[in-house]
Symmetry: none
Subunit: 422 residues, 2 copies
Amino acid sequence: MHAIFSDIITIGDELMIGQVLNTNSSFIASELTKIGVTIQRIISIPDREQDIILTLNSCLASSDIIIITGGLGPTSDDITKGTLAAYFGGNLKIHEESYKQLEFFFKTRRAKISERNMKQAELPDNCIVLPNKNGTAPGMLFYQNNKPVFSLPGVPFEMKALIMEEVLPVIRKDFELPFKSNITVLTTGLAESTTADMIGEWENKLPPDITIAYLPAPALLRLRISITGNNNYQIKNKLNDHVSELVKILGKNHVFGFDEDTLQEVAGKKLLTNNLTLSTAESCTGGNIAQLITSIPGSSDYFMGGIIAYSNSAKIEQLGVKASDIELYGAVSKSVVEQMAVGVRKVFNTSFGIATSGIAGPGGGSEEKPVGTTWIALASPNKVTSAKYLFGDNRERNIIRASLTALNLLRIAIDDFAKNSK
Amino acid sequence: MHAIFSDIITIGDELMIGQVLNTNSSFIASELTKIGVTIQRIISIPDREQDIILTLNSCLASSDIIIITGGLGPTSDDITKGTLAAYFGGNLKIHEESYKQLEFFFKTRRAKISERNMKQAELPDNCIVLPNKNGTAPGMLFYQNNKPVFSLPGVPFEMKALIMEEVLPVIRKDFELPFKSNITVLTTGLAESTTADMIGEWENKLPPDITIAYLPAPALLRLRISITGNNNYQIKNKLNDHVSELVKILGKNHVFGFDEDTLQEVAGKKLLTNNLTLSTAESCTGGNIAQLITSIPGSSDYFMGGIIAYSNSAKIEQLGVKASDIELYGAVSKSVVEQMAVGVRKVFNTSFGIATSGIAGPGGGSEEKPVGTTWIALASPNKVTSAKYLFGDNRERNIIRASLTALNLLRIAIDDFAKNSK
């Protein structure tokens, strides 16, 4: 079995002037790497025929697979489709199924279909059409010397769906790939260097076919453990053994899930399966916790609602916080945040109430309570707990860190409560 | 004056597996574009000698300037320096000034200097050394046929400083550059194809030195208008004239700002300057509107708070919606969303109250009210208005579209109110 090489070509003037980040290429590189394809080059070029042709020539000379994104839209600067049709010796013709799908797409949105849009159903007669459920520009698959050349729209969520549902299956069918497997262990509340120290011994013992990557993000540290081998069953077992050991070292309070799990999803599922409900009282996080929770489909089954108590009077009138305590201890204090959590739990009549109060920044800090100071409280059916955190000086990251920390406290509290009620 | 072309080569295995976003290339592309250099290709390759050589051959054949980042670190996978020294026919030798700077770098950090680190002062004897004040790997400048080839470290803040302080001055000195300018017009509520039809005539009249790019995102369409020329003052005036005309065609209700503006920032500023305040009552957007508003520093000056009324009882008890109206019209209705807006405005005693109620999906839709159906209401000091929208079938985007649409309604309402109060 030899290595299979792929090139990624991203087309778009917006990339050449640095206006947008090339998130498409990192997504594609990541997904192809997972199934054992080696990415050889990632090339970004403008919407210009000559550049597309020269790049295709060069890529077809050295790679087994080529994936192109961008330039399939309905406007005048989108020239990829016509260029590819000509390059591979085909002509643009109305593609019946795509035409019908376009009609349906606009009908369900009760929008009129313009002539410009109908042109999106004109496709090269020498390609396999890859239907795009999420947009108006279908993907295309050409073959040259048995090498697949995929052309996908540049809109990220349309491209992503096409990669997962159309591109990966074709690659798996066309090529004999080594088996790869990986598990990403999701942790929160751990710094990168602390983690490296904690798991140093485990890491040193890893066999050469297993590798680890540290992927940090605000309040999160993802650890991706990868394995490659010729026996799918064996590598999966071996990987699971090493990951179990890793999870034991890191501990349940830090490890909240695997792969694509999110804290809001994990906590939400635990609420649902235990028939528990939640409400939120947010000051410094400004609705971000509620927004994360309600991003999950079906969250209305366990999330009753929340109050964003940005002003002191909202804290007093909506949540029943004592005005005298705000005066005495300040809005960012143990006393106030606990009253907020208890208050919101009562208002919405829920099992749990989460509350946050902090100084997100950049203004509002003091010597005693610098920017980043954050109190988080959790009112449970039988108790109320709270803790103080000192995050950093970046508003955006302070809000994310406070939100995820609160969700993790909730996750742990649900487990505790469910265990004790049994 | 002819166009000056540059290629960007980013080197690093981490890019090829999609582990990190290539933020370096977009920064470099953006800075070079600003001074009038045209980026021709951005190529990412692994840390492998053969790939570096082949890519350099190809880039030197077609571009005037080459900028390389990555692979200059002290570890074994960093091979860029040795490869470039050999490629351009030089040898690695201790560079005295860099050696002294390294000593100083570690001394000020009170760290011991390892042999591995000292190797960073070994530099090709055929390059101009570009001192790196922020790290241990200096940048390098080679010339081949009068074409500058820059090699910079991949650590973003080290690379950025070298671009601004060393690379741009060399390029300005070596080449006669045209002036460039661009303005991005930010719109909401317009589809790409509708916009293309609306501005078709304007677009057809554009002189050849002005180009337009469509950059769509959920609920947003950004239009970037760029100009190139030899007289900085003239091109700016010319660009402004064309942009003014474009804004007139698109209309104030759709154009909400320019360049890096956001709806939440624009609406927030309008509230602040007019001494107005805001509260939110969110059902389907689940806190996302409040989260967007409070992401802006200083938003506590005009945002008093919000209620996330995810359940019917929260709508009734917290916002004063009539239970009989929920029964009669459903929670997703004109009557309910208007009562929510009026209710929250009263609860928080604010100038404006925004409310949303819709079916974000994927569940909860019906024939009469399919997924994506969304009511948005705005209670102003003197009236309450509402409108129904039919978004798509993707939960995440429905939430974004509802939130941005609501913020745009608020923006328009503030202008109306401020005008009428004068």
